[in-house]
């Protein structure tokens, strides 16, 4: 393994790979990705990879819109088919309060050029014919939202980064980070030490412990999040179905399988357990069968779990740590870290190399928690 680098990225998931690729694309040299397991073995390879632009804050709408722009040409850019499927997101509403929030969201989204619109229950059924409308009083639909293959996207970034000179070391775990006078000196791994002035913490569910190695406290924790997939069946519908109040997201993928999950912050295990539970598959099956009754005849073939890395406001923490020069963070993405990775990877690269970003992300700094300036995003699971 090499002994010296200009930039060391800890974590070879979608965040680490996107950051590395964007750094190399901007001309940076001597970049290293350290991954304790294999590429996309963390949350990035376990996630739903749904990508949406329907958010309730201006900042998130802009970030998501810009990310989608990158996704739209990413297969060509990376020379790897990421299987982009812009089948839309149909977000369903069950309460008046939700409808009111959605109306505000749609005004905001449209003002930013995002194609979302309100839909009646009847229009929802036109979009997704097998839908059972029980309890549904409306919703929003954005036809340009969609999903990608999360593995191919992560591999695509990793391979493109390597073609630009980035070194990717799998099975290489960072165990210590050495600092001096509030600057980064080196990282120590199970395969040796690398001297470096810059470390990027992109360790996903392990970003808290990686912060501790550098002596900084990052207010994040990890929580298990489960997901299941069915056997492939004939095409029934295309868009992602999602609800915040009823708490589900699921979609028929282009290859026919139906994939989905729900958030369970009250009961799910905190920590790094990624085992599966029966309770999840039962509850998820109930939600799916209720909304799309025809699914009751369909077999589930697999379930698995990954980690949500949660920050106090469920929004990412981006940027350099104010007390540790050269220590950059791209962590705390909760349930939307995949869809944002193309844009955040670009912005982190700009921040490291130019000291400024083309889209402001200063509100996502770690200092916001001390200042009490938490971001209030109404539209997250």
């Amino acid at each position: 393994m090499i002994k010296k680098a200009d930039i060391v990225i800890i974590g070879g998931g979608i965040q680490g790979c996107s950051i590395a690729y964007n750094l190399a694309k901007k001309g940076a040299k001597n970049i290293v990705i350290l991954e304790k397991n294999t590429c996309a073995s963390g949350s990035s390879g376990r996630c739903g990879a749904g990508i949406r632009q329907q958010f309730g804050t201006k900042m998130n709408c802009i970030l998501a819109r810009e990310s989608m722009k990158i996704f739209e040409t990413l297969s060509e850019e990376l020379d790897y088919d990421i299987e982009l499927n812009q089948a839309g997101y149909l977000i369903l509403a069950y309460t008046e309060k939700e409808i009111n929030q959605f109306k505000k969201n749609v005004v905001l989204e449209q003002s930013l050029g995002i194609e979302a619109k309100m839909v009646t229950p009847e229009e929802a059924k036109e979009i997704v014919p097998p839908l059972n409308l029980e309890g549904i009083i409306g919703g929003t639909f954005c036809p340009t939202d969609g999903n990608v293959n999360p593995l191919y996207t992560t591999f695509g970034y990793a391979e493109a980064a390597q073609r630009l000179g980035v070194k990717y070391y799998p099975f290489t775990e960072v165990t210590e980070i050495e600092t001096e006078d509030k600057r980064i000196l080196s990282v120590i791994t199970n395969k040796g030490k690398i001297l470096t002035p810059i470390v990027v913490n992109a360790a996903g569910g392990y970003s808290g412990p990686v912060g501790k190695m550098a002596g900084v406290d990052i207010p994040v924790y990890s929580q298990r999040h489960q997901i299941l997939i069915t056997e492939p069946i004939d095409p029934l519908w295309k868009p992602m179905l999602m609800s915040f109040s009823e708490n589900y997201y699921f979609q028929q993928l282009p290859d026919g399988g139906v994939l989905g999950g729900y958030g369970d912050p009250e009961h799910e295990i905190i920590g790094d357990n990624v085992g599966s539970s029966w309770q999840f598959s039962r509850t998820m099956a109930k939600k799916m069968v209720k909304l799309v009754p025809i699914l009751k005849e369909v077999h589930m073939v697999r379930q698995w779990a990954g980690l949500y890395n949660m920050s106090p406001d469920a929004q990412p923490i981006l940027g350099e740590h104010p007390q540790l020069k050269g220590f950059y963070m791209s962590v705390g993405f909760s349930g939307h870290g995949f869809m944002l990775a193309p844009v955040t990877g670009r912005l982190i690269a700009e921040l490291i190399l130019d000291g400024k970003t083309s889209i402001p992300i200063d509100k996502l700094d770690i200092g916001r928690f001390k200042r009490g300036e938490l971001i209030c995003e109404p539209s997250v699971v």
Binding site: G45, T230, V274, R282, M288, V289, V298, H299, M300, R302
Partner: protein, 90 residues
């Protein structure tokens, strides 16, 4: 083995596709499954997993036991969503 030989019937994955992934440096069962979808089909690898392991081992000059199978999830029997949801009329 010929490139056209089908290793995973459920997902229609050929040896050629697996060989390409191996050549790119993806040598764990997990990675091969993720890239080629071999083993992710209806039978959940019951039919193809042992062939897959044998061929990866051969390619890497390893013993079958030495192939990295990190987060291997044993294939379970597919269950109907209706059954899971507690609807027993099937």
């Amino acid at each position: 083995m010929k490139d056209e030989t089908i290793i995973c019937r459920c997902e229609d994955v050929t040896w050629g596709e697996i060989r390409q992934a191996l050549e790119k440096g993806y040598t764990t069962l997990n990675e091969i499954k993720r890239i080629t979808r071999a083993g992710m089909g209806r039978c959940q690898g019951k039919t193809c997993q042992s062939i897959l392991l044998r061929e990866i081992a051969k390619y890497c000059n390893k013993k079958i036991e030495e192939v990295d199978v990190t987060t291997f999830r044993p294939p379970t029997k597919p269950v109907k969503l209706g059954t899971l949801a507690g609807d027993n009329d099937d």
